[in-house]
Symmetry: C2
Subunit: 334 residues, 2 copies
């Protein structure tokens, strides 16, 4: 067993895309769990677009990561040593323990992973991205049977789950992604009714119009920018636009606003944002339902796993260059 804690710390706020120089790789002595604490060995780290926001200075829904601190991140691991009344060595846990190989916890921020759930599943389809899909679509988007649902970033960790839940709710589901392989995955494996390759569509609004009949009831937006404008141009009356993210905007200083927002007026539609953390009291409800759908094969999922915590600063770029499908994870080597 190692006696050092490998850590990746944020040492500079990125300008534009994050770069490896924004991080520092270091080692710290393995900490001893204090009274009531556990020491967790992290096996997997989740990489998520929201992390780009956590690196920024300024007011947001949670404070930014301080310079010099271990970068924030969702993790899956095992309890190594315990002074905690109910957690024992070997217990498999998910938490926000950061970009590091080991961490202390008082346990109240940990979720115990059931035996039938794998580590990658616990961080992906049943983790933050799956929960985001669940609450964002069902609580904010409120899909009805027969609705037309458009999802952007559809081959991503959240989007792929959104579309499949949409199918389970009886919607016609159209996904937007950036490669032919992703589009084929959506329609041939995940059961989407259609897919739009935004990189090869010369007129994105026209492509959206043709795929949806110009009658989008729910648009689940992960990307913002031009895509959001195209969706707004094709809303049905009473449509709901779920603002989950805007990955096209995260690395630029000034966001581009949706010029077609007056479609909300014409179509008596609403655009609404949410933060998955607000739903923490209902995570268990969602995990039970998502887990059942996964076991029954109704929700399929895919992970792309990069080996080695040291590669995280480079691997995170794959969230922004479109070069991954499903959930992006780091396997934390010893």
């Amino acid at each position: 067993m190692t006696d050092t804690n490998l850590q990746i710390r944020l040492v500079r706020r990125p300008t534009g895309l994050p770069s490896p120089e924004d991080f520092e790789i270091g080692e710290a002595p393995l900490p001893d769990p204090g009274e009531g604490e556990v020491l967790v060995a992290n096996h997997y780290l989740s990489l998520d677009p929201a992390m780009r926001g956590w690196m920024k200075e300024g007011r947001s829904y949670i404070p930014p990561v301080e310079l010099g601190d271990v970068m924030r991140g969702g993790t899956y691991g095992e309890v190594l040593r315990s002074n905690h009344p109910t957690l024992a060595p070997g217990d498999r846990v998910v938490g926000m323990l950061g970009w590091q190989s080991h961490a202390l916890s008082k346990g109240d921020d940990l979720y115990r992973v059931p035996p039938e759930v794998t580590g990658p599943q616990a961080l992906g389809v049943l983790g933050m991205t799956g929960l985001t899909a669940y609450f964002g679509l069902l609580d904010v988007g409120r899909p009805q049977e027969g609705d037309t649902l458009l999802v952007s970033g559809a081959a991503g960790a959240t989007g792929s789950v959104v579309g499949q839940i949409g199918k389970l709710m009886g919607c016609k589901v159209i996904g937007v992604a950036g490669t032919e392989a992703k589009c084929a995955w959506l329609t041939e494996e995940l059961g989407f009714d259609g897919a739009i390759n935004y990189r090869t569509s010369p007129d994105l609004t026209k492509a959206v119009y043709q795929a949806t009949g110009g009658k989008i009831d729910v648009y689940f937006d992960n990307v913002g920018g031009e895509m959001l404008d195209s969706a707004l141009a094709c809303l049905n009356r009473g449509a709901r636009v779920v603002v989950c993210g805007a990955i096209s905007q995260y690395n630029s200083d000034s966001a581009t606003g949706p010029a077609n927002y007056l479609s909300l007026l014409v179509n008596r539609a609403r655009m609404e944002g949410f933060i998955v953390f607000d739903y923490a009291p209902r995570y268990d409800e969602a995990r039970v339902e998502l887990s059942r759908w996964v076991q029954e094969g109704k929700i399929k999922h895919r992970e792309e796993i990069v080996d080695g915590l040291r590669n995280a600063p480079q691997a995170i770029l794959r969230l922004f260059d479109g070069n991954k499908q499903g959930k992006l994870l780091i396997r934390i080597g010893s």
Copy 2:
């Protein structure tokens, strides 16, 4: 009694601001009411920002006015001749009878004005703009006691009523307007808690932040553009942004989208549009309540009246240059 009908017809779609050359003034013979019809003499014409949208080609919530047709508009007048079972000469009625001195109607599109209500009141505070304020604020904005309400276009026909209803609901109300006289009217006569002169505020977002504490619960937007962005920058958690109009954008070909729309995500807020016509089944409920508030002096109102239907094509510009306060009406001379 005249035997001609003075009409103003739309003959060209405006580019940018409407101009008198977009209209044609003509006369037609006074029509005879057919079976079940009434002939109405219009006394007042309402001028509204929404009219700019009706002049445009293309898909919207109602079809555009066809070139050559009498321009669409809300009117107050008296029944002159009647073949209608329940409407008699002298009855005072409000309808959408257009930019003309006389019009035929089958009566089902007319609202009978109660004796205690004046013509200008019937078109303004109890008319489309008052109803827009009522349903937009109460049904879409859903103000709670203690909420901070920001209204743009606050000295306008809709905004001034929105703010006063907000006060009746127990909100802290801040209005945004474009002259010192308008701001004084809001705070000294209408009971607003504060007013921002957007023309003299060097940093509009800062001014909004200072006036609202950066905690806007309801933002009622009549103007769009930079103002909308400033409001979005100052939302409270769970805020509601009511998209009623965007007068800053109506005369430009391409709208500017709100660059700060991701504030909806950070603050779990929503932005929602509406069209007052959808509330037609509930107009009576609103008129009763608004009328009571007006009689009790709880809602004050003001009209700017321009004499002569022939002046309407010029007078409508006052909606866009900020040169009016309250409701803009045309008194239709004989």
